[in-house]
């Protein structure tokens, strides 16, 4: 087990930027998804085939999940949250391909996604409510809780990144260790566990992101609704 099994190696450089295997894998995933989406968009019909039916089912399932949490912002949140789900499912499962490492086993990638979620919470909140109204919710219900709220903002972002990185990294490490100890047939159950864990982690990451963003969108609205209707 050398260092490259744990840390993504730098494959080449583009000026000041180091291009690691994580970035290349991510580009490959993006290329595959873009090609599949382009082909699908060219063949869309009123009477859907199997592939279109699956695609529409995925899209409507994501809409329903977002509608259950933020019913008034489905169209606003679908591109970001849906893309998180799709990318994480594909990225987590890409580790099953021999010689390919999942991008999400790299803390830089998971941190980047977590930072995007952190920024999206504030971006959608400010865009929806305005800067003053959005910032006002940090003082609610009491200004005393402001430090704890700020700590929570940071820690939940770090937890988001570390949780995904830790799970996927541990999965790949476990599979690698079992492969070294028990040979080629033993990792198959571990690979099955990898599939389940990849799907679960993708769902958890996307759902937490959705809840955080929806919380930022609806925090001030909930406060106003409570003030208008105290019994609710």
């Amino acid at each position: 087990m050398n260092q490259s099994e744990i840390v993504a190696a730098v494959l080449f450089r583009l000026g000041p930027l180091e291009i690691t295997g994580t970035v290349v894998t991510t580009w490959a995933i993006i290329a595959v998804l873009a090609l599949a989406s382009w082909l699908l968009s060219r063949r869309l019909q009123r009477q859907p085939g199997r592939v279109q039916t699956v695609a529409e089912g995925v899209e409507m399932a994501m809409e329903d999940a977002i509608r259950a949490v933020a019913p008034d912002h489905v169209q606003l949140l679908l591109p970001f949250v849906g893309s998180l789900w799709i990318f994480l499912v594909v990225a987590n499962l890409s580790g099953l391909i021999p010689g390919v490492h999942s991008p999400t086993r790299d803390l830089s990638a998971t941190a980047a996604l977590a930072i995007l979620v952190f920024l999206s919470v504030h971006w959608f909140g400010i865009r929806n409510q305005g800067l003053k109204r959005y910032l006002r919710h940090y003082l609610s219900p009491s200004p005393i809780l402001l430090p704890f709220t700020l700590i929570s903002e940071v820690t939940r972002t770090v937890a988001l990144a570390v949780r995904l990185f830790g799970n996927i990294m541990s999965l790949e490490m476990t599979a690698l260790l079992v492969l070294l100890v028990a040979g080629f047939l033993a990792p198959i159950p571990i690979l099955m566990l990898h599939i389940i864990e990849a799907l679960v982690q993708a769902y958890i990451f996307g759902m937490l992101a959705l809840i955080y963003v929806a919380g930022g969108l609806q925090s001030q609205q909930l406060k106003e609704q409570r003030q208008e209707n105290p019994r609710a």
């Binding site: 744990i6 840390v7 993504a8 730098v10 000041p16 930027l17 180091e18 291009i19 690691t20 994580t22 970035v23 991510t26 580009w27 993006i30 998804l33 873009a34 989406s37 382009w38 699908l40 968009s41 869309l44 019909q45 009123r46 859907p48 279109q52 695609a55 529409e56 899209e59 409507m60 679908l78 591109p79 970001f80 849906g82 893309s83 799709i86 990318f87 991008p103 790299d106 803390l107 830089s108 990638a109 941190a111 980047a112 996604l113 930072i115 995007l116």
Partner: protein, 251 residues
Amino acid sequence: MELNWSTFLLEILNFLVLVWILKRFFYKPLQEVIARRQQEIEARVAEAEKMRSDAQQLQQQYEGRQAGWENERQQAREVLQKEIKDTRARLEDELQESLQQQRQRAEVVAQRQRREQLRQLEQQAVEQGGEFAARLLQQSAGPDLESRLLALLLDSLGKVSTEQLNELREAAQKNAQVVEVASAFPLPSHQRDEIASALAELLEGQVDCHFVEAPELIAGLRIAIGAWVLGANVRDELHGFSQLESTSAND
């Protein structure tokens, strides 16, 4: 476990690009297709709703028309029932009138039959009375009664009107003065002579009397002068009495 800032920044950029690509080639086309399909479904639902509305309107029209037909049929039925009622009343009146006429006719026939029966009964009673009287007189008849009847006859010969007397005389001349004298009992010679002399005086000439016995006369005499018959006997009297009673009953 260390953070590679190049990877960190490129992953952020990569994900934003992926969001744009998926929004452009995945979400938007799929949502448009779903929206078009939803519009088609809604259009079909609206069309179906319009067809249902039209069908309901047609149903209402049909029900209204059917109610009109039902009303017309009810009116026609009422008119027909009224006509049937009038016709029945008229037929009942005619039947009552016919029955009344038949009853009156039957009453007349019954009255006539009763009168006929009464007349027959009366006639039968008279005949029975005659027979009874004849039987009674037949039992009580005898030469004495016949003698008295002879005396009565001879007495009545003197009371014959002139017109009748002339006709008797003409009848005797036409019959050669032959007179047939019938009696219920044999007449003694003196009575025969008395009769002959009385007839000769009545007819103003010699008379040839033929005396015969006729027990059916019961008692008395019957003198035949041509077509003329002079009677003083019980049989003729009873017969005359019966004829008289029958005539009075017919009247």
